[in-house]
Amino acid sequence: MLTVFLQFLFSGLTIGAVYALVGIGFNIIYNSTSIINLAQGEFVVIGGLLMWFFSESLKLPFFAAVLCTLISSGLVGLLIERLTIKPLKNPDLLLMIMITISVSIVLRGVLMFLFGKEPYVYPPFTEGEPINIYGAIIQQQTLWVISITLFCIILLFLFFKRTITGKAMLACAVNPTAAKLAGVNVSKMVMLSFILSAIVGAIGGMTITPISLMEYDKGPMLSVKGFCAAIMGGLGSNRGAVIGGFIIGILESMTAGYVHSGLKDAVALVILLLILFFKPSGIFITKSMSQLRKF
């Protein structure tokens, strides 16, 4: 009993970590621009596929490949912001949603052109025997996924609380005009938020690919799940997105394991609807905080 439960729990935590990273990616952009970037899931795919390209195809050493992947995904984020978001003057909400959706279609097209339709995989970060906890088998890569996710979260937390750039980014979210008056370069912060969120997404993709493989069309589902995580925790709250991501991941793997694997995708959505109907501001955000939001 316990063995099976633990097995499901760990596979839930693994996929939950990726949802958490996607959710944080949503938050980073939302916090500085009030935009929901529905191309967020594509960043995860880009991370996984580029890592394969640098480490397996170009045979770069591990750390060089990681660095190259992070830099090139950051560049993708930068390009998206400069080419599609920046040229728009006073866009409305719906237009922004549609633009990010159509950007995600372009990204999928590019990925399919470059990598084709087959799934990609590369060896885990460390070779070694899986760990056995009460009979549950845990791959070493699972530990990597969870610990790298937690590490990212701590770094981001420090960035937003301790550095002047991070604080400036938060200021743009609350009131862009006031931030501008205080000397914050809003346009630069928006650009930075896209780069950062692309990198966060790519980290998720890099770590999960050895476990669950990566193909060009995985993006939309990741976007939806990550968005569920972000909404669950309250849009804008990184702590909320992390907890939301893990909860959704665990519930999903429990449903797949104990109930029926086909219903796994419905779980996140049912939770999402319940939260939206009963506490739309999310679990971890107070009402007054949510009233500050533009959308």
């Binding site: 929901i36 599609t84 040229p87 728009l88 866009p91 909400l93 719906l94 237009l95 949603i97 549609m98 633009i99 959706i101 159509s102 950007v103 279609i105 372009v106 990204l107 999928r108 097209g109 590019v110 399919m112 052109f113 939309p220 939806v224 968005f227 569920c228 909404i231 849009l235 029926h260 086909g262 219903l263 995708d265 419905a266 959505l269 049912v270 999402l272 609807l273 939206l276 109907f277 739309p280 959308f295």
Partner: protein, 316 residues
């Protein structure tokens, strides 16, 4: 209906009616049929978005209910097709009420995501419990009434577009009526509407039901035309496609929905020759349209026409 609207209506549908006389290929007519089916869903979403100001990313859900309920009733329970279609519309209306009552309190992103969640749940249900599961089922009867079955491509083309014309006529009248004006007022400010004594929540729910009915009808027509359905036609991608149609065509204008439906349905067919690259080119065209023709194609073109006319008047 104003005279000008009526003229546009007549000219457009006469043009559509003449098309099959010049187009011999069944392939082209089939694309025309799908344009008509998509136009039905898009018109519903256009009223919901452009007039009532509510977003929906869940139209595929109602489209799917329409297709599955009416097909299941006619294949497994021997319902006449028309009764199946009507039953499906009732089911969709009930689903719309259940979704709308809590969801329409939400705004912006949240409403978009709630409807998206609804659509995906329907998709999962169809996948799991629909006949044939993910691979779907076939042998769905063609639309028939009083012993006459609509089977050939040409007949179907006329049949679908006559329904589009009826729906369009009703929708134009609705949006030009008092209700239409209230809807546009609601689009701008809920509070102002409530202040002058309009029951805003009730009206929102009614419009939501209307859009669900259109989508359900379109879904039923689709299933009885292609006679084989599987869940993949009713995924989130379809909802996004419909949203694209409304935005590309221009959400403030019902003709925008029709034009958008035609453009977005025909475009992938024209891009076939790019083969592997089609999704890329498609994405690029969409992105550029959204960025540079923000109001949508129909408003921009009609403005151009008006400008030309204004220029002529100025000359005289």
């Amino acid at each position: 209906m104003k005279k000008e609207d009526f003229m546009v209506f007549i000219v457009f549908f006469i043009f559509v009616g003449l098309l099959p006389l010049f187009i011999e290929s069944n392939y082209a007519l089939t694309i025309g049929i799908f344009s008509g089916i998509n136009a039905l869903v898009a018109i519903g979403l256009c009223i919901l978005m452009g007039y009532a100001g509510q977003v929906s990313l869940g139209q595929a859900g109602f489209y799917g209910i329409g297709a599955y309920v009416s097909s299941i009733l006619s294949v497994y329970y021997g319902f006449p097709v028309i009764l199946g279609i009507l039953s499906a519309m009732i089911v969709s209306a009930i689903a719309a009420v259940v979704l709308a009552v809590p969801a329409l309190r939400l705004k912006g992103h949240y409403l978009a995501v709630a409807t998206l969640g609804f659509g995906e749940i329907i998709y999962v249900i169809l996948n799991e419990w629909g006949p044939g599961g993910p691979s779907g089922f076939g042998d769905i009867p063609h639309f028939n009434i009083a012993g006459y079955s609509i089977q050939t491509t040409k007949e179907s083309f006329y049949f679908i577009w006559i329904i589009v014309a009826i729906v369009m006529l009703y929708s134009i009248n609705l949006t030009k009526s008092n209700t239409g004006r209230i809807l546009r007022a609601m689009h701008d400010s809920d509070t102002a509407c409530e202040a002058i004594g309009i029951n805003v929540p009730l009206l929102k729910i009614k419009v939501f039901i209307l859009s669900a009915l259109y989508a359900s009808l379109a879904g039923s027509l689709y299933s009885h035309y292609v006679t084989f359905i599987s869940p993949s036609s009713f995924s989130l991608f379809y909802s996004i496609l419909i949203l694209m149609m409304v935005i590309v065509g221009g959400s403030k204008n019902l003709w925008g929905a029709v034009a958008g439906a035609i453009v977005i349905t025909v475009l992938p067919e024209l891009l076939r020759k790019f083969q592997e690259l089609d999704i890329l080119v498609y994405g690029f065209i969409l992105t550029l349209t959204l960025m540079f023709f923000r109001k949508g194609l129909v408003p921009i073109i009609s403005e151009k026409i008006k400008n030309v006319r204004g220029y002529k008047f100025a000359k005289h």
